[in-house]
């Protein structure tokens, strides 16, 4: 019996690995997700054969949780994807915390390794739970997305971390008599999750979500050590590792270290350092913009979070279709950290039926920028800020950007002249070949579409 479900766990692990591999390629990704779901099914069915399980309890939990998850997944809008990933992730972290806690209640006489695993499952699970919930609240704008900083934050965090470590050590030394230390660790981890995410602002969210994703895997892995369960360990560590890679990619795309993201509260501290910007802002009406676009043979759209806010992806696709019908080559340049989660813009454009071959990365589009007639920046700011290349004193300096300032003409669609999330002035707006088109992104694109249609009629 024992070896039967161990074999099932091996099968499940293999399915997860194959699923992940397939998830990494566009043409196999959807099937890969299904393969991984089958792996999950195999693991769950095998576990149901464990003797002593309370089937009524499990069935009730599966029905309630499954229904909530399924309905949520169906109803949610694509623009709400970042917060949805965050909340599901938090649920997983919470489950790992509870597994550690409940196991302790049943078998408090733990050996040291199990005790260490329990404390790790509880600490990391707790941070994942409340951290993800706060990330969800910030992303869905239930609380402000700006970094929230208070004076002695770092001191408080350091103290809490010390308390967590202290109670962890005390617990591991004597698990059976150490219930109170476990409870302290639970409370501290929940607090830490909130405090760690509080100072992190909207533009850094892709990094935080990736990191929390990684944590939920590590927490599951730790829970696996608590109950000696191989499939938990394997699946958890796969997720932990992949989350770490995504985090690293996001950090690289912003030219920042992880420590800098977690501890500095970007945007709250960097107002004064940028150089004064010279030049003049040249606004352009959508009518005039139409004449430029009409004559263009190469157009690159550069979407940012503003496109998501304005829900302008369908209008953008409509305009792109008209431009293509007019003989222009259309591409979309996507910066890895544009939006609020890794790949955010890709999802929105996919929703609008943009074929993924038209989506290009900065490294591919930048060398061709001189031949681009019009670069249309839609609600992106920091990822096109030339100060990242030119101004050594800029906090953005060194960040890889999409170099739209080198295109023949650059349109910037923007509500107003307010600086972007980072609070850094954008010299792009003052460049001689830049034209500002003020207004709501969706409305402006709609006007451009109307101009094209009028001309055709």
């Amino acid at each position: 019996m024992e070896s039967a479900f161990q074999l099932a766990y091996i099968a499940a692990s293999v399915l997860f690995i194959i699923g992940l591999k397939m998830l990494g390629r566009a043409d196999t990704a959807r099937r890969g997700n299904m393969v991984s779901a089958v792996g999950m099914l195999v693991a769950v069915v095998a576990t149901l054969l464990v003797t002593g399980i309370d089937y009524a309890l499990v069935a009730a939990g599966l029905v309630v949780g499954g229904a909530i998850g399924a309905i949520w997944a169906r109803r949610v809008q694509m623009t709400q994807m970042p917060e949805t990933v965050a909340i599901f992730n938090g649920a997983g972290g919470g489950a790992s915390l509870l597994v550690g806690w409940a196991e302790y209640l049943g078998r408090p006489a733990q050996d040291p390794v199990t005790a260490v695993a329990t404390i790790l499952a509880v600490l990391i699970g707790g941070i994942t739970l409340t951290g993800s919930m706060l990330a969800w609240a910030k992303l869905s704008e239930r609380v402000s997305g700006r970094p929230i900083l208070f004076g002695s934050q770092q001191v408080v965090n350091a103290l809490l971390l010390l308390v967590a470590l202290g109670s962890g050590v005390a617990y591991v030394i004597n698990p059976e008599g150490g219930y109170v230390y476990l409870l302290v660790a639970i409370v501290v981890s929940l607090l830490l999750g909130v405090l760690v995410v509080l100072p992190i602002g909207g533009a850094d969210m892709p990094i935080v979500i990736s990191l929390l994703n990684s944590y939920s895997g590590v927490a599951a892995s730790a829970a696996g050590f608590v109950i000696d369960n191989t499939v938990l360990i394997v699946a958890g560590s796969l997720v932990g590792a992949s989350g770490l890679i995504l985090t690293q990619i996001m950090c690289k795309a912003m030219n920042r270290s992880l420590g800098n993201v977690l501890f500095s509260g970007f945007g709250a501290v960097t107002k004064s350092s940028a150089q004064a910007v010279e030049g003049e802002v040249k606004p352009l009406s959508p009518q005039d913009a139409y004449f430029v676009l009409e004559a263009a043979s190469s157009v690159v759209f550069v979407p940012g979070y503003g496109m998501a806010v304005a829900q302008a992806q369908h209008a953008v696709k409509e305009l792109a279709d008209l431009l293509e019908a007019n003989g222009a080559e259309v591409r979309y340049a996507i910066h890895p950290v544009a939006g609020r989660m890794p790949g955010h813009m890709n999802v929105l454009l996919a929703e609008a039926n943009v074929p993924y071959e038209q989506l290009v990365e900065p490294g591919d589009v930048n060398p061709t920028m001189e031949n681009v007639d019009v670069a249309v920046v839609i609600g992106a700011n920091d990822v096109v800020n030339p100060a990242a290349k030119e101004d050594k004193s800029s906090p953005l300096y060194g960040m890889p950007i999409i170099e739209v300032d080198r295109a023949r003409t650059t349109f910037v669609l923007k509500r107003s002249m307010n600086p972007g999330f980072s609070g850094v002035e954008n010299p792009l707006f003052y460049k001689p070949n830049t034209r500002m088109i003020f207004g709501d992104a969706k409305a402006v694109i709609g006007q451009l579409v109307a101009e094209f249609k009028d001309a055709a009629a």
Binding site: S13, I17, L20, L23, A26, R30, S36, M40, V44, V50, I53, D54, L57, V58, A60, G61, G66, I68, G69, A70, A73, R74, M81, F88, N89, A91, G92, G94, A95, S96, L98, A102, L105, G106, N213, G217, A220, A223, F225, I227, D228, T230, I233, V234, A235, S237, L238, V239, G240, A241, S242, G243, L246, I249, P336, P342, G343, N346, A350, E361
Partner: protein
């Protein structure tokens, strides 16, 4: 000895995970994140096994764990599938 074997499995799985994800194109980052997020719902296995522990309070915790993990699993896989269903290649369709 068992624990060493488990550690061995853990370390190998971490390296495998690092290798698997290394070269994923950025357009797939969101589905990848959401798909791995669903896999982290594997905590559901732990949650189910924990209902065997017994004791009222322990059962309450185990029940909540099953609910949370089920939200993670069902929500995670379904939302990833929905998202990937929208990714289309221009070569196949106009």
């Amino acid at each position: 000895m068992t624990i060493l074997l488990l550690l061995f499995v853990f370390v190998l799985a971490v390296f495998l995970g690092l290798e698997l994800i290394q070269k994923v194109p950025s357009q797939l980052h969101t589905p990848l994140m959401s798909g791995t997020n669903a896999i982290s719902g594997i905590a559901i296995v732990g949650a189910i096994a924990t209902t065997a522990v017994g004791g009222t309070f322990s059962n309450v915790l185990a029940f909540i764990a099953v609910v949370l993990a089920a939200i993670n699993v069902f929500g995670g896989y379904l939302v990833t599938d929905r998202m990937l269903g929208m990714f289309k290649s221009g070569k196949k369709e106009g």
